[in-house]
C-alpha cells in the first residue's frame, strides 16, 4: 500500500491509501478526486489522467513506455514532469508521494 497525496490545481489536497497494484488513476477516480478524469479507464488512450510528479520520485516509478511518452508529448498542459497516472501502480516504494494536477485535463 502507498499513501498518495493528490494536489488540485487550486492547492486542495486529497490523500488516499492506494492498494499495491492499483493505479493512481483508478484510486483517484474511485474516490472522486477532482482533477483526474481517466476517461479511458487506463487504456493509455485519453491523457485525461495527467499528474505532475516531483523529480525526487522519478527513479521510484517505472519509466514511460512509448505510448505514454507520445500521448504526453501532445497533451495540452504537459510539462517535463508529467505522467499519466493510469500507468503508475502503487507500491511501497512510492509511499508518501505527492503529485499535482493540471488546471484542466482537456
Amino acid at each position: 500500500m502507498a499513501k498518495i497525496t493528490y494536489i488540485e490545481h487550486d492547492g486542495k489536497e486529497h490523500t488516499l491509501d492506494v492498494a499495491d497494484g492499483m493505479t493512481l488513476m483508478e484510486a483517484a477516480v474511485k474516490a472522486s478526486v477532482p482533477g483526474i478524469d481517466g476517461d479511458c479507464g487506463g487504456a493509455c488512450a485519453c491523457a485525461t489522467c495527467m499528474v505532475f510528479v516531483p523529480e525526487e520520485w522519478w527513479d521510484k516509478i517505472p519509466a514511460k513506455e512509448d505510448m505514454e511518452e507520445t500521448m504526453l508529448e501532445f497533451a495540452e498542459n504537459a510539462e517535463a514532469n508529467s505522467r499519466l497516472s493510469c500507468q503508475i501502480k502503487a507500491a511501497p516504494a512510492i509511499d508518501g508521494m505527492r503529485v499535482s494536477m493540471p488546471k484542466s485535463q482537456h
Binding site: M22, E26, V29, K30, A31, S32, P34, D37, D39, C40, G41, A43, C44, A45, C46, A47, M67, T70, M71, E73, F74, A75, E76
Partner: protein
C-alpha cells in the same frame, strides 16, 4: 414538492452525474435506479482485459463501494423503472412503488440488437453488454473450443482477439463486404482483416446468418449463402439500440435517441438525459448525433449535472473512441461520416502503425490512428478548429505531426 433528483439507469453517465451534481453544489437528495445487480461499472473492459481475465470486478467498478452512500445517494440496484408520470411528477418501479421527483435524469444507455433467426434462443448463443454476459462467455474459454462471432464491429473483433489468444478457434461472420464498415474507410477495414488473419482468426465477409442449429445447445451457425460453421459458442455483436421507450411513453420527444439540447435538456425542462440514449446537437458538425462512447457518457453526465444544479455548461466536443485488439490501439477522433477524401499517413499494408485522415472538402473531420498517438492527439485539436489541411503534407511522413497544423 420534492426537491429530489432521480437518476434512471446506473451506468457510466449516471456515475459521472452523481459526482458532478455534488461538485456543482447540489445538496439535495439524489436517488439512483439501476436494473443490474451491480453499481455502475465500465463496459469497455468487458470485451478487453476483463474478458481476458486480466482484471477483476474491482477494477471495472467505477466508484468505491461507499461512494454513493457517502455522497448522500439512495441506491436501488436490480430495480427497473417502468413508468414516468410527468403530471404527478413521480416515477414507478416494477413492483408498483412511486417515487416523487423534482428533477429527473434519464441515463438509460442502450441494449444489444438481437438477432431474429431460428435457433436464436439456443444455449451457447450470447451477447455482450453486461458483466453477467462475460461470465457466460468465459465459461466456453477452453482451448480447442470453436467460437463463431456474428458481426465484425469493434465488439465482435475485440472478443475474437481475446478468444484466439486463449487458444480458441474463432471465425467472424460479417454481412457487409468488410469489417467495421459502418465507421471506417476500407483501408482500415482491410488492415484489420489482415491482422486478424495473421493472429489466426478467420473472417468471412458477405455472410448472412440464417440460423443456429443444435439439439440442447448451439452446434452450428448456418448462413443464407449455404455455409455451415460448427461451433460450441456464438457471440453476437450486431449493434445496439438506445433505451428510449420510457421517455417515449412519457411523451418526451424522441428521434434517433431521446432528443436533448446542448445542455442535455429534453422537451420537458425538468428532465435531462445523458449518454448512449440521447440524440444531441454537435456544433462542430452542425447536426444531431447519437454516440455510443464513454467520452460522450462522461461529458454529457457533467453537462446534465450542471443543468440540473442550475448552471449552464454546454456540451460541444469532438467525439472520440478507442478500441484495443492484440497490440493495436485504435484511437478515433471525430466522425468520418460524409468524408470526401481519406488520406493515409504511414503504410497500412505492412506493419501495424498508420493513420487515416478524413477530409470533407479539405476540412479535417476525423482521424483513425492505429498505434499513432501523436496523430490522434493532433487530430482532436485540429478537428475542433475545423482545420483545412493539405493532403500531400499529411501523407508526407518527413513532415512532423506538429507541423501539419501550420
Amino acid at each position: 414538492m420534492s426537491d429530489e433528483i432521480i437518476i434512471i439507469g446506473a451506468g457510466q453517465a449516471a456515475a459521472q452525474a452523481v459526482q458532478s451534481l455534488r461538485a456543482e453544489g447540489f445538496e439535495g437528495p439524489i436517488r439512483l435506479f439501476g436494473d443490474e445487480a451491480y453499481a455502475p461499472y465500465q463496459r469497455p473492459p468487458l470485451s478487453k482485459k476483463f474478458l481476458a481475465g486480466e482484471i477483476g470486478y474491482d477494477r471495472v467498478e467505477l466508484k468505491a463501494e461507499d461512494f454513493y452512500a457517502s455522497s448522500g445517494v439512495a441506491t436501488h440496484w436490480s430495480t427497473r423503472v417502468t413508468e414516468i408520470d410527468r403530471r404527478q411528477k413521480h416515477i414507478l418501479t416494477g413492483d408498483g412503488q412511486a417515487f416523487p421527483y423534482g428533477k429527473l435524469l434519464l441515463a438509460t444507455g442502450s441494449r444489444v440488437r438481437e438477432i431474429n433467426v431460428p435457433g436464436f434462443d439456443l444455449e451457447g448463443v450470447h451477447y455482450l453488454r453486461n458483466i453477467d454476459d462475460v461470465t457466460s462467455i468465459q465459461a466456453h474459454f477452453k482451448p480447442g473450443a470453436k467460437m463463431v462471432v456474428v458481426g465484425g464491429g469493434y465488439i465482435g473483433l475485440e472478443v475474437a482477439a481475446v478468444a484466439v489468444k486463449r487458444g480458441i478457434d474463432v471465425t467472424v461472420l460479417e454481412t457487409a463486404d468488410r469489417v467495421m464498415a459502418r465507421v471506417v474507410d476500407p483501408i482500415v477495414s482491410h488492415f484489420y482483416e489482415r491482422v486478424h488473419a495473421e493472429e489466426g482468426v478467420k473472417i468471412e465477409t458477405g455472410v448472412t446468418v440464417a440460423g443456429f442449429e443444435g439439439k440442447d445447445k448451439v452446434e452450428a451457425v448456418v448462413s443464407g449463402e449455404g455455409g455451415r460453421y460448427a461451433c460450441d459458442v456464438v457471440v453476437v455483436g450486431i449493434g445496439i439500440l438506445p433505451n428510449t421507450e420510457l421517455a417515449a411513453e412519457a411523451g418526451l420527444h424522441v428521434e434517433n435517441g431521446i432528443a436533448v439540447d446542448e445542455f442535455c435538456r429534453t422537451s420537458d425542462p425538468d428532465i435531462c438525459a445523458a449518454g448512449d440514449c440521447t440524440s444531441h446537437p454537435n456544433g462542430i458538425y452542425g447536426h444531431k448525433l447519437r454516440l455510443e462512447s464513454v467520452h460522450n457518457a462522461i461529458e454529457q453526465g457533467k453537462t446534465a449535472a450542471a443543468t440540473l444544479a442550475g448552471h449552464e455548461k454546454p456540451y460541444n466536443q469532438v467525439p472520440w473512441f478507442w478500441s484495443d485488439q492484440y497490440d493495436l490501439k485504435l484511437q478515433i477522433a471525430g466522425l468520418s461520416t460524409g468524408y470526401t477524401q481519406a488520406v493515409v499517413r504511414g503504410d497500412p499494408t505492412t506493419g501495424r502503425s498508420f493513420a487515416v485522415f478524413y477530409l470533407k472538402d479539405g476540412v479535417l473531420i476525423a482521424v483513425d490512428a492505429i498505434n499513432r498517438a501523436p496523430e490522434f492527439m493532433m487530430a482532436k485539436m485540429l478537428t475542433a478548429k475545423k482545420a483545412v489541411l493539405d493532403p500531400a503534407r499529411i501523407a508526407d511522413e518527413s513532415i512532423g505531426v506538429k507541423e501539419l497544423a501550420g
